[in-house]
Symmetry: C2
Subunit: 349 residues, 2 copies
């Protein structure tokens, strides 16, 4: 009978290295951290042995003694959403460049789960938590959640992409108003007056802001506001875009342009438009948000808003590290850029 080979090939430790090099563990630790000088001879001997055994210091032991895990936790609504995936990868890269690792958790839009994951990240002793999407996008913050975050914030700083009123979370926000302004002015300059806004949900802060700016821009150009062109009582995916756009057609409305709440929703809007016998962009122009790869897969390619993801990620990580060190500004803003592609064109006369 064979022993269950439980892969317990015990790790080699700093003691083993010290022993073989005939020095103390303190000395080995010194060459590992590089904080203090160590004699050239011993240093080289130690390095050779470390290399020989491919020794990697145990991150847990390390974290235990200096209370620095060098991990930033990222809580995201759903990485399968290309916007979040892009942003996550940007964070990962930014973190790497400053010596941090990121730990990802998906809340999958389950509120209870979000609270649970905050606890889990706290337990892993991440040094900071970045929350992207989910509860922090709510137009009016959920009090229960605010309380939970405040509790966590007693020990671990939290950075959010949206806002969380009643907390001291640092924020990195998208200038959604500016983004909408860019899209609207683009469409208006092409002669559009009947502009629909479709997808997403008005209870989400950025969506609310987009609507505000939508109205504001119409007003600026003296274009009357028609509530029936607005359909924001759904979600951020393709199906929702499809359903909500169908609703607008069902009301007998025939916009010459549609602003979809994001790229994914735009694909559903496109389906609805085509099914109703219109062409894009000849009959109806379509624009989206986020410049995810989805917008480049669409036929025609989608005019959309880009955010410079690497910079966005950098801001988030910087905010996290600032928060860890207890310094830095409370809020940074990411500037949106218009990306014009083939889905938007001159309004039909």
């Amino acid at each position: 009978m064979q022993m269950p080979k439980t892969n317990e090939n015990k790790m080699i430790t700093i003691y083993d290295i010290a022993k073989e090099a005939q020095v103390s563990t303190a000395t080995v630790s010194r060459v590992l951290t590089g904080n203090t000088k160590v004699g050239k001879e011993k240093r080289e001997k130690i390095l050779a042995i470390i290399k020989k055994y491919n020794f990697k210091p145990n991150a847990m032991a390390r974290g235990l003694s200096d209370t620095k895990s060098k991990i930033i936790g990222i809580l995201v609504a759903d990485v399968r959403n290309p916007f979040y995936a892009d942003l996550f990868v940007a964070c990962e890269q930014a973190a790497k460049s400053v010596g941090y690792t990121v730990l990802l958790c998906n809340s999958l839009d389950v509120m209870q789960q979000e609270e649970h994951l905050l606890d889990r990240l706290a337990q892993q002793r991440v040094e900071a938590i970045i929350q992207i999407g989910g509860r922090v996008d709510d137009l009016v913050s959920n009090m229960e959640y605010v309380e939970k975050v405040n509790q966590i914030m007693n020990t671990i700083p939290v950075v959010v992409t949206g806002k969380l009123e009643g907390t001291k979370c640092k924020m990195v926000r998208i200038d959604s108003m500016k983004a909408m302004e860019l899209l609207m002015e683009h469409l208006i300059s092409l002669g559009h007056h009947q502009i629909a806004m479709v997808g997403g949900n008005i209870k989400v802060l950025s969506t609310y802001e987009k609507l505000l700016q939508y109205k504001h821009t119409l007003n600026k150009y003296h274009i009357p506001y028609d509530e029936e062109l607005i359909s924001l009582e759904g979600s951020y995916n393709s199906e929702s875009g499809y359903t909500l756009m169908n609703d607008i057609f069902a009301k007998g409305k025939h916009p010459t342009a549609v602003v979809a709440i994001n790229d994914c929703a735009a694909t559903g809007v496109q389906r609805s438009i085509l099914e109703h016998g219109y062409r894009i962009p000849e009959d109806i122009s379509l624009v989206g948000y986020d410049n995810t790869y989805v917008s480049q897969m669409m036929i025609p390619r989608l005019t959309t808003i880009d955010y410079d993801y690497p910079l966005f990620g950098k801001y988030l990580i910087e905010a996290a590290i600032d928060a860890i060190e207890g310094k830095g500004e409370m809020m940074k803003t990411v500037t949106p850029h218009l990306v014009v592609r083939e889905s938007s064109g001159k309004a039909k006369q």
Copy 2:
């Protein structure tokens, strides 16, 4: 001058709890782990105090003493790829259900990075590593990488979605041959004989297998093989699908059906087809792989292959845990299913 508030609101520890409950840390630890009996009275008192301070045991200290981090590292080529994202989320869910947390790293297809990330995961003392995509998809394994993985395997088991010859990695594989068979028989049953295969790269194992099965199925139905209908010297994205499909048209070929290497590539193939004046599916049928949300966004919706992601994830996590415990089979296979949508139809006469 103000002290830099470095968020050092020191965590409360098991000692604090023990002190307040007037018991030893051992007793507190016992109620935390639940391994041993503790008197009802003390237990309740301790639980109350734990709750009062929202105490979470330090995962690092815990991991240090029992050498179990309860973390599985996942090394994925790129979460932005919807196939990987779906699979990652499936793993995350499966891991959660057995009490594990997952740590995600993106290799972003940089070989050197892959090796580096293996080290990093090892350093975090993850109990197992699951590698999805990247080097483990190579048709012929890179020897340098095999050596690296073997080195890691001395202490941490590695599970792969592909294969890594020369290692003892457990495998969870997709039956790509079966998948291709399903697609081909579907198309052939619709009367297609001129079937192109486009996108991806022949140096990737699954792609190689698909080609094998492609030829095999043609043979089975006595359909001649035409090498010029094959274009597999690119990548797995939309642009590549577009370019490679253009190549086929440039050769003067006019297939009645196209198998794209995955859903993303299919979007590019679609663009090429439309630009050449053909309709889908009336003139040319198009099918893809992976049943990612992309396939449902396309117009028309794409016929594709689904893998039951939750099960796939479950297999991967099970394999990882089996590997940790030194038991279980070396290989499991995921069965593909055909999902018929509107992009495939009867062949034109």
